[in-house]
């Protein structure tokens, strides 16, 4: 029985705003093992990015309240002192963001920025050594002509190349965990394929665990092993990728899968959108956050609007829904 690399328990994140408390994350718990790839999916405002930034301790400010725990190799990140957090960030746990241009400083060369990421955690490294490391890192992420490129500034690179540089920076200290927040959302599909391939190769080489945050179900299916589905700040389903796509148990996961067209599905079948819109995180509905959009809520005599469903085991998956286990496990018929 190995202990997981990261173990998040009952994570809550609240933002105080002039209009009221935004309950961005409400009681999220999950584990990730060494070398594993875990996806967190959900739509805008579901709390997936806030969960990730809480693990990196990037949420700060007077109006933000974070509670729960995030044990990384047995140590709780959420109760660490600032100094300890700084040591962890970028060395043990690294993060890459959606927009590589804002993640890079426009006034420094990329070589400078890559070596800075190393020297912060390895003070006293010689300039010569740093240059060699940066050249090596740039070459590893597949950027041609590293000797010339190392002297260039972020604006001289394309979006895909910038994301490669950010990946080079994130991986230079061989982190145990990489958090990738929508790393390919701003990129074209052919570039996305390049970057996903790169993350996969780097992961294999270093044995890094990856948390991939995305809204693209295609990306989830192609690169990850396990998936967490979030809705309005809560985990609604936790499953292996195979199970989540072949036999989704939560009505929201099912709705999400029916809303997308895949290149291998029947072209003329009609899309089945989820009716309505996600709830406001300031004024959350009572009970299950999905009940107002759920087609099955009516069959449970009001339980869905009063009682919050807990995650329960359904076959190999975990699902937060009041429907009986046998109904969730079997594909629910449209007539229900």
């Amino acid at each position: 029985m190995n202990t997981p690399l990261l173990s998040v328990r009952d994570l809550h994140v609240n933002f105080g705003t002039s209009e009221g408390d935004v309950q961005a994350v409400r009681g999220v718990s999950f584990d990730i093992d060494r070398g594993e790839t875990l996806a967190i999916v959900g739509e805008s405002g579901s709390g997936k990015s806030v969960t990730a930034s809480a693990i990196m301790r990037l949420n700060f400010g007077a109006d933000i309240r974070v509670s729960g725990s995030a044990l990384f190799e047995g140590k709780d990140i959420l109760s660490m002192g600032e100094e300890e957090v700084r040591k962890m960030r970028g060395s043990d746990v690294a993060m890459i963001f959606q927009d590589p241009l804002t993640a890079l400083n426009p006034f420094y060369t990329v070589g400078n920025q890559i070596s800075e990421a190393y020297t912060i955690h390895h003070p006293g490294t010689s300039k010569k050594e740093l240059r060699a490391l940066a050249l090596d890192a740039i070459e590893k992420v597949g950027i041609p002509e590293p000797v010339k490129r190392i002297k260039q500034y972020p604006h001289e690179f394309s979006g895909g190349m910038r994301q490669r540089i950010v990946i080079a920076m994130a991986l230079i200290n061989q982190p145990k965990l990489l958090i990738a927040d929508e790393p390919t959302t701003a990129l074209d599909v052919t570039v996305q394929a390049q970057i996903l391939e790169l993350i996969g190769v780097m992961q294999e080489e270093n044995g890094t665990a990856v948390i991939l945050i995305t809204h693209d179900l295609g990306v989830v299916a192609e690169v990850t092993e396990r998936v967490l589905v979030m809705y309005a700040g809560r985990l609604v389903e936790k499953a292996s990728v195979i199970d989540a796509f072949a036999s989704p148990t939560h009505p929201y996961t099912r709705g999400l899968l029916n809303s997308v067209k895949s290149l291998d599905s029947d072209r003329h079948s009609r899309l089945e959108p989820i009716p309505g819109i996600p709830p406001s995180l300031i004024d959350l509905p009572t009970g299950c956050p999905f009940h107002s959009r759920c087609r099955y809520a009516a069959s449970l005599n009001g339980r869905c609007s009063t009682e919050v469903p807990e995650l329960k085991a359904v076959g190999n998956s975990w699902s937060a829904c009041h429907l009986p286990v046998d109904l969730l496990a079997a594909p629910i018929k449209e007539s229900l």
Binding site: D188, A193, H215, D216, V220, A221, N258, L263, I274, P278
Partner: protein, 326 residues
């Protein structure tokens, strides 16, 4: 047969001057955003234009709707050449062709109520009295799934999906025959995307609309299009029915593009062969000679640098611009 074609483009080119030199008082370089595109849209159908950022698809959309003037070439709408139309003729032409934009946040005036925004084209065209206009706006709002109480609300009170519905209602206000939709769903979440796509399909069958649908999401396009044109660096490289272009892509770029799209089916992933392109798209300021894809193509030969491949049927049943199609 040509009566069947509602919109046609002939050898359309749009070159944007850039890097202007003050001394010479003339541009020193041009971006060849769209460089020789011909296509036609059949009445009541959807023509989708796909490609990656910078391929010129949005510029093409703007040319087709005559939001910008072409450098050369022409656009014929319902038998009338609109690329040389005067401003008076243009006003009339706007009743026939309308645009739906990508960003529903940016295309609605934040200081106008939704009802006002939807009615704007009617006021500009002066086709109705105020009370008739109000009645028509209510009709339009019902058509796109907005309720009457939304009439006096402002854009910031709406979600992205509702704003896009308002944008569509405004485009329909003058009962146009053609809608040019430039990435109409890419700013929306997937569950909302499906709602808008279904709405667009329903409106097409109810009102007999013809669509030019610009998108980068290939899964969405396959679902909605009757014909698909794939663009690369300002040119169409392949055009045909979705079954042909997706099922049996013949151009090496189309093949790479199709294989790069992630499929939401974990069991299919292993079976599919992904083609990873190397390098970046060349600059449209100085595109490669001959075939524009040759710098990244696995099948490249000497002829590709010299001879530009024409977009013709080479035995695939649909036009392909490649010397060595599959």
């Amino acid at each position: 047969m040509s009566d069947d074609l509602i919109l046609q483009a002939f050898d359309l080119k749009k070159h944007f001057p850039t890097g202007a030199s003050k001394l010479l008082q003339r541009p020193t370089q041009v971006v060849q955003a769209v460089d020789g595109v011909s296509l036609s849209l059949r009445r009541g159908t959807t023509l989708a234009i796909v490609g990656e950022s910078g391929c010129g698809k949005s510029t093409l959309a703007r040319l087709l709707a005559r939001l910008i003037e072409p450098t050369s070439g022409s656009v014929v709408l319902n038998g009338v050449n609109i690329s040389t139309a005067s401003s008076k003729e243009l006003l009339k032409m706007r009743r026939e062709i309308q645009v739906v934009f990508q960003d529903p946040y940016a295309c609605l005036n934040p200081r106008h109520s939704i009802g006002q925004s939807i009615g704007t084209p009617i006021r500009i065209q002066k086709t109705m009295s105020r009370s008739e206009e109000r009645h028509r706006v209510f009709e339009l709002m019902e058509l796109v799934g907005l309720s009457h109480e939304h009439y006096n609300r402002f854009p910031h009170e709406f979600s992205g999906g509702q704003r896009q519905r308002a944008g569509i209602a405004r485009a329909l206000a003058l009962q146009p025959k053609v809608i040019v939709a430039d990435e109409p769903v890419s700013a929306l979440d997937v569950s909302i995307q499906a709602q808008i796509l279904n709405l667009l399909e329903k409106l097409q069958s109810d009102l007999g609309l013809s669509y030019v649908f610009i998108a980068h999401d290939l899964s969405v396009v396959r679902h909605i299009a009757d014909e698909v044109a794939v663009m690369y660096l300002g040119k169409i490289v392949e055009i045909g029915s979705p079954d042909a272009v997706y099922g049996a892509p013949a151009h090496p770029y189309t093949k790479a593009l199709m294989s790069a799209v992630p499929v939401p089916n974990p069991q299919a992933g292993a079976k599919r062969k992904r083609i990873i392109l190397t390098g970046d798209v060349p600059s449209p300021v100085n595109p490669p000679s001959g075939c524009r894809f040759r710098t990244r193509c696995a099948k490249v030969q000497d002829i590709c640098a010299v001879d530009e491949p024409l977009l013709i049927d080479r035995g695939q049943g649909h036009p392909v611009a490649c010397h060595f199609p599959d």
